[in-house]
Symmetry: C2
Subunit: 338 residues, 2 copies
DNA sequence: ACAGTGGCTGTTAGCGGTAACACTAACAGA
DNA sequence: TCTGTTAGTGTTACCGCTAACAGCCACTGT
């Protein structure tokens, strides 16, 4: 039981099953993989022996011999923000049944860590890689390009993919939201977001947003950044800060729904007229928002769809162009007037 | 670039690096693993060659030869409920620097799926396994017990572990919460939770809860279950349902914080006096709650600590007893009177 | 009777590394 | 001078499995 106890029996191998069932290792291998013709009685004998011995095949040896690994590396920045779990769901839903298995690596938005994670994953010679974002270290790009396996960069398409990209244009998403806000008549607009030098997608959304503001002769009235902590709470605090600094602000654009939700709760608690006196919008379209007292305007990031399409490319179920752009829909909710 | 393109160069091996640098494969291997004595000039030559070739070692071959795999399997029911990401954080924080790497498998609360995931993982011969819960299929238990590696079952300690267990007593947690509620004078208590036949920990909490109620001569006035959908929204809906069915209910015990938060928002929107007229409590102590208009009573599940301790056992940094119980603290928040 | 066929099983030779040991040169100490 | 030691490097034999091919045995058709 205890890990200090010596393993009573040496690890089981094909040879053990082969001896127990009286056939060659090769035949056992065939039975366990359902490959090639094996007579029914032999198959039974082998399965019986494997079962009673409690044999678990050694994929390491199998992979080395067959030069095939049923693993797909998935490299994402974080698990704790509701967006990647849904991408994973999409990936799994497609990979299930293909024999391929996702293996997740988390980078915490650190480029060096991403490089390490990619290196580690490639050293297991996976059948494909799915990686969030288009920005990577030169070394990481080089490794991926040389790996000789399908690579899918997801979430974003504003850039040049190594092999394939599936995602949305965050720049366009930011622009669209700005246009909707301007069209609704808001003029004093503030931005509230994460202080993440390496969250390139949030950065691109903001760029697109400001671009559209500029085109309308507007600029951001205020901006506020945070890092760490409870996003919902930070949303409140930042909103309070912006409103006290700039009482005439009439729109708050949040870089994600979670802080947006915090801001919304704050505004409602303050008795502010939403969306009359002040409008709000977030980004992502997380399910969470459905339960809020008022529905926050947002834009879904097509997370499920992105996961599915990426997995389809890896599984060879889809031949697609280099870039596959998805188009998020603007959900006006109840926090933009009009 | 495209996956259909034939790999121009065959995969690089140690031999390529060895030839490029003019030393034996063994020496290259030593350099790349920092093992054994290699002269500085040789080391440089080798590293140089490896770098320019873009060599990525093949861990499959390495693992087979050395009989050592730096992987730790982590089997959890779900990624999307805020609790496991934090456990993962704890695991990673300890594993980082040990050379061990976590590999996550998700079971969606399905025992058969769990069995499959465990089988797949064991077939990679990991150095250890961390698995949520104490309830598994017989086959899964047998496989794990025979694997000859440290096994840590986490989250729960109400049961018999295969090897090690680190967690809290959910039964006790339920009991404690009930006692606090009763002590505060609430009498008409309802339960609202997930309809998950295989969420054994939620089930145990409820058992402990009802046990303590019974001891005080009380029983649940009502109960309501849900499955799927936005937890926050479900919390609202279920709360509305319970309150309309049972207007005199004075306490709502939720099986998790997310639906509790939904319920809280609903009660506040209805203008109910919380915690005077009605009290609420959840479970988990998720960070999210910090941003709510009022702080929901809850009990933290020691998630970070559990992850850390489990990883320490696997990493051999801690010799511990079979069961390691952690004690969650009751956080009364603002939704239990007194 | 014969080669031809197809179903079933075994044999051989690796896959790409590493453990364990063997070897060599250089130098120290007796 | 000789042996012992040590740092640095190479050789050999696998790790546990599978691809490829080589049998072998009915059984078929002619």
């Amino acid at each position: 039981m205890s890990r200090t106890a010596p393993d009573p029996r040496p690890t089981l191998t094909l040879r053990d099953v082969s001896e127990a069932s009286g056939v060659s290792e090769m035949t056992v291998s065939r039975v366990l993989r359902n490959r090639g013709d094996v007579s029914a009685p032999t198959r039974e004998k082998v399965l019986e022996a494997a079962r009673t011995l409690g044999y678990v095949p050694n994929k390491i040896a199998g992979a080395l011999a067959s030069q095939r690994v049923n693993l797909v590396g998935v490299v994402i920045p974080s698990l704790s923000n509701m967006v990647f779990p849904e991408v994973m769901t999409g990936i799994s839903s497609v990979l299930d049944g293909t024999g391929l298995q996702p293996v997740v690596g988390v980078t915490n938005y650190l480029p060096d860590r991403e490089e390490t994670v990619i290196y580690e994953m490639l050293s297991w010679r996976p059948s494909g890689m799915i990686i969030a974002g288009l920005e990577h270290t030169d070394a990481a790009r080089a490794m991926l390009a040389r790996a000789g396996i399908p690579i899918v960069e997801i979430m974003d398409i504003d850039g040049t993919p190594i092999d394939h990209a599936v995602g949305i244009s965050h720049r366009r998403a930011g622009r669209q939201m700005a246009e909707a806000i301007i069209a609704a008549g808001y003029r004093n607009i503030a931005f509230l977001g994460t202080q993440m030098p390496n969250d390139f997608r949030a950065k691109k959304r903001l760029e697109g947003f400001e671009e559209a503001l500029a085109k309308a002769g507007l600029g951001l009235v205020d901006r506020e950044y945070y890092s760490g902590g409870s996003a919902l709470l930070k949303g409140r605090e930042m909103t309070a800060a912006v409103l006290s600094r700039n009482p005439d602000v009439d729109f708050l654009y949040y870089s994600n729904d979670m802080i947006g939700a915090g801001g919304l709760l704050y505004c409602l608690a303050q008795g502010l007229d939403v969306p009359g006196r002040i409008g709000l919008a977030g980004f992502n379209g997380v399910e969470l928002l459905d339960g809020l007292p008022r529905k926050l305007a947002t834009m879904d990031a097509c997370r499920l769809e992105i996961g599915k399409k990426a997995a389809e490319i890896i599984a060879g179920k889809a031949t697609r162009g280099e870039k596959e752009e998805l188009f998020p829909t603007l959900q006006r909710g109840d926090t933009i007037r009009g």
